[in-house]
């Protein structure tokens, strides 16, 4: 207890110290290293702290009463919180290291002090959100997290576009917060306290309607933060606008805090129990999860901005996490505990995986952007020769996120698919069939995700440079590569040894653990007691490597030593093959746009400039293929315009005529008097 307390305190103090140090810092590379040292150390402390809590199984509690009359500052780190703190710790450790090199870019433009300050406070607020055990302080830290991340999003506030993205983000997240607030308020009404402890104890006794409302509000609120469709509009704007180290934190960690909130509310505060009454909660999650997955990935595959594509991919992955979570809820409500555990493991495994590979990919993208100064992959290409490390690490991330063996993405997707398959145990035909159909978008998502990352990786790193942005560049600094390598190693490790992840999750969430050693096969039983599915990744890796060695030897023996000649790519004999003949990102994804044209509504925008009046004498013509953003155009735009319409009506009240003003007073007075008079009925 005291040890954990010291660790936790030390971590928090270090973040604060880092923030202050950041404010005081000046622009030399030495202070840059020093300013990012506190968060690095603090992150390590967090990792130790949270893993000790998970391993010991004892939660850490701390209450500081009395700073405000009605709200105690309460901290509770149980297994679930510790799990998410672990994610925060690992990712922020890598990102802090990465930032040492990365923030150099910002030195040229302006002081990094605000960046360091906000960076520290941002991580700190995430930790405190997860650790909070009081609704009021939860919301305070929650909004602090939104606020600091908002400032980081608009860090480059020279660009009008970034300000707009930031505003969208802030407003959406605030909207989400109000829903969370409403959800907590319902708990408060029922229990008369804002302490999470009382929610926890009282929630079982809530009326069913209240339970449902608590869930729905939390679902909308936290779903907004997690970037769930259709509340995702902020995410693809905000994440790319932020400096890349912050994008990494936002995408890898912050949206997981939304997932954390959802889990916390559902399992702790909403009175959720093993009753079919709650099955629809899970179905809701599955429906929105699948929608997020498919929508996210569809936008990602046609996107040209590397960071935005990654952001869309975050939406997709959140969808996958939600599907797993939803399945877990459905299984729990039908008392299928074993499968509920499976699905929860799937969902949490994907959460931690996504933190790793998305952090890695954003950092990789940040490295690319920092040397090429463009986010548009149309202008990139061929970086693999100039940035071998970055490209290797990015490739690991890409393979992981595409769910390919033997890296971590495959494991969590395997779990999720197995959970989907397990739906045949549910004693309800309609749910069975709907979940089976939900696996269609899920599988489609995985397929398209692979295509997305083929495109992102290949268009950035492979073939020839398509513009001068991608020529004559250098590999990024060592600290950046180190930061990325940590997460890449984690990706590989969690893929090759899934035992790590499963035991971590089952200890943290107090689930019945499956395999007892790293080399045990993960196994799922079917009705007749036979094995439904098995997976033993370490053995798979052994097979792969031995096969590789064997085939290498075999080919070598069979073919003997042969020469390799380097020559130009085959050009059909015409010669002069150049980068303009290559496939560009847009042309690469053209078949996808064509197949899903119902969704994208692709169309060409033409800008013509002609000499003088004659429309036929064209000076230049620019044709751009654009896609329609159906959510913004058909969902948000009407809402906003109806609000503006209402505003317009209201402002006409303020006519500037004093007579009108007096008339309002008169009318109010008479109406109120009439109200009194008539309600009395003398």
């Amino acid at each position: 207890m005291t040890d954990s307390f010291t660790l936790f305190q030390a971590a928090i103090l270090l973040y604060v110290a880092g923030a202050i140090l950041g404010l005081l810092s000046r622009n030399t590379s030495l202070t840059r290293t020093i300013t990012f040292l506190p968060p690095t150390v603090a992150s390590v402390l967090l990792v130790i702290f949270s893993s000790s809590i998970i391993i010991s199984g004892k939660s850490f509690q701390f209450v500081a009463p009395g700073t405000l009359s009605f709200f105690n500052f309460e901290i509770l780190v149980d297994g679930i919180s510790a799990f998410f703190i672990l994610i925060i710790g690992i990712v922020s450790f890598a990102v802090s290291l990465y930032s040492i090199g990365y923030s150099k870019e910002y030195e040229i433009k302006k002081r990094t002090s605000a960046l360091v300050f906000l960076f520290n406070i941002f991580i700190l607020s995430m930790v405190l959100v997860v650790a909070s055990n009081n609704a009021f302080f939860f919301l305070v830290f929650w909004e602090l997290m939104s606020l600091t991340s908002f400032f980081l999003v608009i860090y480059d506030h020279d660009k009008e576009e970034n300000l707009k993205s930031g505003m969208t983000y802030l407003v959406m997240t605030h909207l989400g917060t109000t829903f969370i607030f409403a959800s907590f308020l319902l708990g408060y009404i029922q229990t008369g306290s804002f302490s999470f402890d009382s929610f926890r104890h009282g929630s079982a006794g809530f009326p069913l309607l209240v339970k449902n409302l608590v869930f729905v509000f939390a679902f909308i609120g936290f779903g907004t933060k997690a970037g769930m469709v259709p509340l995702h509009v902020w995410l693809p704007k905000a994440h790319p606008s932020a400096p890349s180290n912050v994008s990494a934190l936002m995408s890898a960690v912050m949206i997981k805090i939304g997932i954390y909130g959802m889990i916390r509310t559902i399992f702790d505060f909403s009175g959720f129990g093993a009753s079919p009454d709650f099955a629809w909660w899970g179905m809701l999650l599955i429906v929105f999860g699948s929608a997020s997955a498919i929508v996210g990935v569809l936008y990602a595959v046609v996107e040209r901005d590397i960071k935005r594509a990654l952001a869309f991919s975050s939406i997709e992955n959140i969808g996958i996490i939600l599907v797993g979570l939803g399945l877990s809820i459905v299984f729990t409500s039908f008392q299928l505990t074993a499968f509920a555990v499976l699905a929860l493991v799937a969902s949490m495994y994907h959460a931690i995986n996504h933190a790793f590979f998305k952090g890695l990919l954003f950092m990789g993208a940040g490295s690319v952007v920092s040397v090429t100064h463009t986010k548009n992959i149309e202008h990139l290409g061929g970086l693999v020769k100039q940035m071998p490390w970055t490209s290797l690490l990015f490739l690991i991330g890409a393979i992981s996120i595409s769910g390919l063996p033997p890296f971590n993405g495959f494991i969590s997707e395997w779990f999720t698919m197995q959970s989907l398959l397990s739906s045949y145990h549910i004693p309800s035909t309609i749910l069975q069939i709907s979940i089976a159909f939900a696996s269609l978008p899920f599988a489609l998502t995985i397929g398209i995700a692979a295509a997305t990352f083929v495109k992102l990786f290949a268009m950035t790193f492979l073939s020839k440079a398509r513009s001068k942005h991608a020529i004559n560049i250098k590999e990024v600094s060592r600290s950046m590569i180190l930061g990325m390598s940590i997460l890449a190693a984690a990706c590989v490790l969690f893929g090759v040894v899934p035992y790590l992840g499963t035991s971590l999750i089952s200890t943290a969430f107090h689930l019945s653990s499956q395999p007892s050693s790293p080399f045990d096969s993960i196994s799922i039983q079917n009705n007749s007691g036979k094995s439904f599915a098995n997976l033993s990744m370490p053995v798979v890796v052994i097979i792969i490597s031995s096969v590789s060695v064997a085939i290498f030897g075999f080919i070598r023996v069979l073919g003997g030593d042969t020469k390799k000649t380097t020559y130009g790519t085959w050009d059909c004999g015409f010669g002069g093959l150049n980068e303009r003949m290559e496939y560009t990102p847009t042309s690469l994804s053209q078949p996808m746009r064509a197949v899903f044209k119902v969704f994208f509504k692709p169309h060409n925008q033409t800008e013509k400039e002609s000499f003088g009046e004659n429309p036929y004498l064209l000076k230049s013509i620019k044709i751009e293929t654009v896609i329609k953003n159906i959510f913004e155009e058909t969902f948000y735009a009407p809402i906003i315009s109806s609000f503006v319409f209402f505003f317009d009506k209201v402002r006409r009240l303020q006519t500037g005529k004093i007579n009108a003003y007096l008339l309002y007073i008169m009318i109010t007075l008479v109406l109120l008097l009439l109200f009194v008079r008539l309600s009395n009925n003398v």
Binding site: S69, H157, L673
Partner: protein, 497 residues
């Protein structure tokens, strides 16, 4: 002996502004009168702190027979008046100096300004401590007259227009308030109490015997009357004009505390009416007006072009929130409302000061001409930003706490529709307000501008307010907590803590 001490306490509270006004009139030197006013304001602040500490321990002070009566509720208002008065005096020195330098005002104006400022403070100090509700009304009316003079200091077209509207509307409104007051008085004599019938203490003691119908009508008049002065919609129409056209320190005082003073009147009569006929009736009316106010404020901010006007609408919103908290009732609601009074009094002047500095720097009030404040004047920019975030209820700043409590009590009291509407309006306000704010603070200035702040005396008041804004978000001193607690007990418990 005890009586004498109380008398002296009150006397020393009212003496500094009187002396200040007198000295200003006599001395007339531009330099000195600013300092005199600062001294007067700081004396007031010290004395108020003394009074408050006394109130915390003794709960009430009665002085000059029964003429002055100070309880925790009055103390809260006194505290906000004195703090804002002090920082406004500090800020005036710099602000009026600059206005003088760029030729907007001349020596005569400055003397008039400081005279008015002192008298203004005096009237606002009397409002919360007067036991006689007639005197309270007179002083509220007096605040109108003084502030009209302060608003039309500039003789600009817009200032005159604003002053005229303010004068007419506030006077009409306050005459309703007088009717309400007299009605209550009549109810009191009708209930056979002619002893101190006009005094608040006398009324509350006897309120149970009031005729219910009379109380209802009377409260309607009070609500419309003081509501006009407090800026509750739809009687708020003068407010954006007056607050935006006044000299900045005056705007700060008008918005920050004068509205509170007016709302204080409503609260007093709300207590009487609650004791008399139960709180449901007045709560209902307060909630209705509150929702209308918050809604209209939210909708109006979107199209604003002028920075100070936008802030004025935000005041309408905040008054709505106070009214909402009182209307929802319950410990959380009332506590939240009183906290909101304090928070508003801190955050709004901060914003007005910052906007004043900004418009002096940019020589514009139109928001479209102001960009990149954080580049041009970083400190003011950050203070402006924090103030703005606080105003829209962003944690970890103070207003969040009070809004949180008010909305909690809304759910608790079962008024879901009102609460949900208000939450919606608050989100809208959040969006539209910050949209304006962020466009001003960030980005690049439209033209090349020299980097620089407006001077230490402009920054210090803002820093003081800003630190309160930040600290009160997560920590409220125990003394103040007790004070607010007692004040809420006064409201919910029939007039006495």
């Amino acid at each position: 002996m005890d009586n004498l001490l109380s008398d002296l306490t009150i006397l020393f509270l009212l003496l500094p502004p009187i002396a200040g006004a007198g000295l200003v009139t006599v001395l007339k030197k531009k330099r000195t009168i600013g300092i005199i006013t600062i001294c007067a304001a700081s004396l007031i602040l010290i004395q108020v702190l003394f009074v408050v500490s006394k109130i915390v321990s003794e709960k009430t002070i009665t002085a000059f027979g029964n003429a002055f009566y100070v309880d925790s509720l009055s103390a809260v208002i006194l505290l906000s008046v004195s703090v804002v008065g002090f920082v406004a005096a500090l800020y005036s020195k710099n602000y009026m100096g600059r206005q003088y330098d760029n030729g907007t005002v001349d020596d005569k104006h400055i003397v008039r300004y400081y005279q008015g400022f002192n008298v203004f403070l005096l009237t606002m100090l009397v409002v919360p401590i007067a036991n006689n509700l007639g005197i309270m009304w007179v002083t509220v009316e007096a605040t109108t007259l003084v502030s009209v003079l302060l608003i039309m200091l500039y003789f600009k077209e817009n200032a005159i227009e604003a002053a005229w509207k303010y004068l007419i509307i506030a006077t009409v409104g306050l005459s309703f308030a007088l009717i309400g007051t007299v009605f209550f008085y009549y109810a009191n004599i009708n209930a056979n109490n002619s002893e101190d019938a006009m005094n608040w203490t006398g009324m509350v003691h006897n309120a149970k015997h009031f005729d219910p119908n009379l109380v209802k009508i009377a409260f309607v008049f009070i609500l419309v009357g003081f509501g006009t002065k407090a800026g509750l919609a739809p009687m708020h129409t003068w407010l954006p004009d007056a607050h935006s056209e006044a000299p900045t320190p005056v705007s700060a005082v008008l918005s920050g505390v004068l509205l509170n003073c007016a709302f204080y009147g409503i609260i007093r009569f709300h207590i009487i009416s609650s004791v008399s006929i139960g709180p449901e009736f007045s709560n209902q009316l307060l909630v209705i007006l509150a929702v209308v106010s918050i809604g209209i404020a939210a909708a109006s901010i979107y199209f604003q072009k002028d920075m100070k006007r936008m802030l004025a609408y935000s005041s309408v919103e905040h008054m709505g929130l106070i009214s909402l908290g009182i209307g929802f009732g319950g410990l959380f609601g009332i506590y939240g409302a009183i906290l909101q009074i304090v928070n508003h009094a801190v955050a709004k002047p901060l914003m007005f000061f910052a906007s004043g500095s900004v418009s002096q720097k940019y020589e514009a009030k139109a928001m479209s001409k102001i960009k990149g404040i954080i580049r041009v004047m970083p400190v003011t920019g950050i203070l402006f930003l924090i103030g703005g975030l606080a105003l829209v209820g962003m944690p970890p700043f103070n207003v969040f706490l009070s809004e949180f409590m008010i909305l909690s009590s809304g759910f608790k009291s079962g008024q879901f529709i009102a609460t949900l509407l208000v939450i919606l309006f608050l989100v809208v306000t959040f969006a539209v307000f910050l949209r304006h704010l962020i466009k001003m603070i960030f980005g690049n200035p439209l033209s090349e501008m020299k980097k620089g702040e407006m001077g230490k005396l402009a920054i210090i008041p803002m820093v003081i307010l800003c630190s309160i804004v930040v600290i009160f978000g997560i920590f409220i001193p125990a003394q103040l907590q007790t004070l607010i607690q007692n004040a809420s007990t006064i409201i919910s418990g029939g007039g006495f803590a």
